[in-house]
Symmetry: C2
């Protein structure tokens, strides 16, 4: 049936649809960030943030870099796959500027 | 703080983040559709679909048109605000084609 939804599209929607994942990606578009830096910009619990970061790692959208310093520094950054979500988030920002009045 | 998320962006993300709303909009980009037509293209219960359609109506993304025929015909269509989500969904489709291997 012509009107069926493309399964790739559906899969992509489901990645972004998980609550918070879009906002985490948006944060990381500006560069590598620590856990606490991501958390500070959003009202999200540590438990949920850490679950979402693991999910995005599994989907190969972000990577977790461990710097062997004392204390150890752990930062999250976007992969190429993650960075290429940027045009989607840009379009979303444009739409929000035009249509959302809050 | 410069890194805070724009509240308009956050609001827009939350609209699209509700499970199914993106897929409903995607369906309606191809034109006005009846409830059953939308439902057939997705594996979604009547209860959830009707709740999501009401939500999208409240957000002024879709309108519900009642045609006084026998039996009455009810169709859903995108508003201007809804139609202007099209570039976002196009970018998402491009991303999915490039990165999702299923």
């Amino acid at each position: 049936m012509n009107d069926q939804i493309c399964p790739k599209f559906e899969y992509a929607v489901h990645i972004l649809h998980r609550r918070w994942t879009g906002l985490i990606i948006y944060q990381l578009l500006r560069g590598e960030k620590r856990f606490n830096e991501i958390q500070q910009a959003m009202s999200i619990s540590s438990k949920v943030l850490s679950e979402r970061l693991k999910y995005l790692e599994t989907e190969e959208i972000i990577t977790r870099n461990v710097y062997p310093e004392v204390p150890v520094r752990i930062e999250y950054m976007l992969t190429e796959k993650g960075k290429s979500l940027s045009p989607i988030l840009d379009e979303l920002q444009k739409w929000a500027n035009q249509w959302i009045n809050i």
